[in-house]
């Protein structure tokens, strides 16, 4: 196992991956259709940010981490059943 340890991840990268994992875990606790919906939105958001944001832009990444943690806390509430995302910038809404 030791020999095959992955690329060294920085602390902030680990935080992002850990947040992502948490989100996916929470998504699992929601019902079928909403589960998939949450997963696809969360996945799209993380991937988009991972491509768009400069890896050295720590201030912005830390801001997103904090925001993500808050959103995660909200999502954890059993009263929250689903998630939706509206893309204002472009012409077509991403998800209803």
């Amino acid at each position: 196992m030791g020999a095959s340890s992955g690329p060294r991840l920085s602390g902030i990268q680990k935080q992002v991956l850990s947040l992502y994992r948490e989100f996916l875990r929470v998504a699992r606790s929601k019902s079928g259709e909403d589960h998939r919906q949450i997963e696809s939105i969360v996945s799209a958001e993380f991937h988009r940010n991972s491509n768009e944001i400069d890896r050295k832009n720590f201030i912005y990444i830390e801001y997103l981490l904090r925001r993500g943690k808050k959103q995660l806390e909200q999502l954890k509430s059993p009263d929250i059943v689903g998630l939706s995302s509206l893309n204002v910038g472009s012409s077509q809404p991403k998800k209803t």
């Binding site: 850990s18 875990r25 991972s50």
Partner: protein, 127 residues
């Protein structure tokens, strides 16, 4: 599979040659030895586990059916970034009913790593 058999045969014969140096045929066989060690580690996990992991990886990465995914396939080579790897590990957790710790999740680089880890965790569960 053929590679495994081939390598282990070569290894056996190279050992034999080493044991009987008088035959004077200790030629190229030795080159395979470092690879054999790696292949032997690979054999720790059951083939069906590896196969199942391959399928999940394909599903998660939305790879076409004809993509060759084997035990030695690296996630990075299949086009997965660290976020995709998290998704794969989560998918595996769900499929096999296990819980992977974050530290070990980050050391998973290949399908084989994942299969080995799953077998280890399952063993622990059974014990």
């Amino acid at each position: 599979m053929a590679a495994t058999t081939g390598a282990s045969t070569a290894r056996a014969s190279s050992l034999k040659l080493a044991a009987l140096p008088n035959q004077g045929r200790s030629t190229l066989s030795f080159r395979l030895c470092p690879q054999t060690a790696r292949l032997r580690v690979s054999c720790a996990a059951k083939p069906e586990t590896v196969e199942k992991v391959c399928q999940i990886v394909k599903k998660q990465l939305a790879l076409p059916d004809d993509t060759a995914v084997t035990g030695e396939s690296k996630f990075a080579a299949l086009g997965a970034d660290s976020l995709d790897t998290v998704e794969i590990v989560m998918g595996l957790e769900e499929e096999f009913g296990i819980s992977v710790e974050e530290d070990s999740a980050q050391s998973i680089l290949t399908v084989q790593d994942a299969a080995d880890l799953i077998e280890k965790l399952k063993e622990k569960d059974d014990a």
